[in-house]
């Protein structure tokens, strides 16, 4: 094996000689298939509890409902709720159903997908502002060409079949356009 072969491939893109490892002599025959790479898994295993407010939200999702919670000071409805207002820091005590219709506040055309559940590329990931909510939910768009998606577009969630519903955001398969006029970007100020 030549010295060139032994260099780390990714690091070899650095300027010549910046990072070359010594190639020491080896007293035993290691064969013609030495180990060069290893997959080294590292896992963190949690037992996760979303807390009271998000538990309420997730139970709502199991019934195809979006349950936010209202800030007692500003009146804004936050979703998914965390139990306190991110603006005032006060506990949110009033539960408010929002959506399910929503408006796209931001989107991205994804050309390189990752993760086990990524849709075929290109697809659109977007932020969806449910009617009545102050903040958006993340999701993906379906049933529309990626170059027709726009900020202000009106959408609705497409749910999994009823017998597949669980306490999970995965209840929403994707979002799709509905036949309503776009919301002017002006009206989305403060929610984008």
């Amino acid at each position: 094996m030549t010295t060139e072969d032994r260099r780390d491939r990714s690091i070899s893109t650095l300027p010549d000689g910046l990072w070359t490892q010594p190639t020491p002599s080896v007293p035993v025959d290691l064969g013609d298939d030495p180990v060069r790479r290893q997959v080294v898994p590292a896992a963190m295993r949690y037992n996760y509890s979303p807390g009271l407010a998000s538990t309420r939200f997730l139970r709502g999702l199991a019934e195809k409902r979006f349950l936010g919670e209202r800030c007692p000071e500003t009146g804004e409805v936050y979703i998914p709720p965390r139990g306190v207002s991110p603006v005032s820091g006060l506990p949110t005590t009033e539960q408010v159903e929002v959506g399910p219709k929503a408006t796209i506040t931001s989107f991205c055309v994804v050309h390189i997908g990752f993760g086990v559940n990524a849709p075929p590329t290109p697809f659109v990931s977007a932020l969806f502002l449910p009617d009545g909510a102050a903040v958006s939910l993340y999701g993906t768009m379906g049933e529309v060409p990626h170059d027709e998606v726009r900020i202000g577009m009106r959408v609705e969630p497409v749910w999994v079949d009823d017998d597949q519903l669980t306490e999970s955001m995965e209840n929403i398969r994707y979002w799709r356009p509905i036949d309503e006029p776009d919301v002017p970007a002006e009206q989305l100020k403060g929610h984008m």
């Binding site: 690091i11 190639t23 020491p24 064969g31 790479r37 997959v39």
Partner: protein, 158 residues
């Protein structure tokens, strides 16, 4: 990154679910660690000679004292001596052995440093500093540190 969740419980209490965040790092071994793990695949253990002549095992790429690149790998033994240890009575997931065992520093014959590994032993009374141990090899070596399944006591019941 892989994130797996699974909802549990439909009652009135708090929801709870396992959440596993896993990274499958794909690492280049470089020539030194590469030779070391390739050696393990052949059931041989390699160290490396440091600038002052001592043999470091597991091998390192650069001298621990001077930082100079090291040039000479040397073969060491597959048996050695316990230099320090502690008993693991409560085993956790992901540990090399799923039964109570010793976590030990082991100086292989021919090496001047110790490596951290586990000893499969019946109990803490069976282990002592200075005890002789030998490698128990994995049945199917893959070219990884796990090719050393564990150490066992020389002449021990394990």
């Amino acid at each position: 990154m892989n994130v797996a969740t699974e909802s549990s419980g439909g009652g009135e209490g708090l929801l709870e679910a396992p959440l596993i965040i896993e990274y499958a790092f794909n690492r280049t071994t470089g020539p030194v660690i590469g030779a070391f793990v390739t050696g393990l695949r052949e059931r041989r253990v390699l160290g490396i000679r440091s600038a002052d002549g001592r043999v470091v095992c597991p091998p390192v790429e650069y001298d621990p004292q001077t930082g100079a690149p090291l040039e000479e790998m040397v073969e060491v033994g597959t048996a050695g001596t316990v230099t320090s240890w502690s008993w693991v009575s409560q085993v956790r997931d992901g540990q090399p052995l799923q039964t109570p065992h010793a976590l030990a520093l082991i100086q292989l014959d021919g090496a001047d440093t110790s490596m951290l590994h586990v000893i499969d032993a019946d109990g803490p009374e069976a282990v002592s500093t200075g005890a002789r141990v030998r490698i128990r090899w994995a049945e199917e070596p893959t070219g990884a540190i796990t090719d050393i399944a564990c150490f066992e006591l020389d002449g021990g019941a394990s």
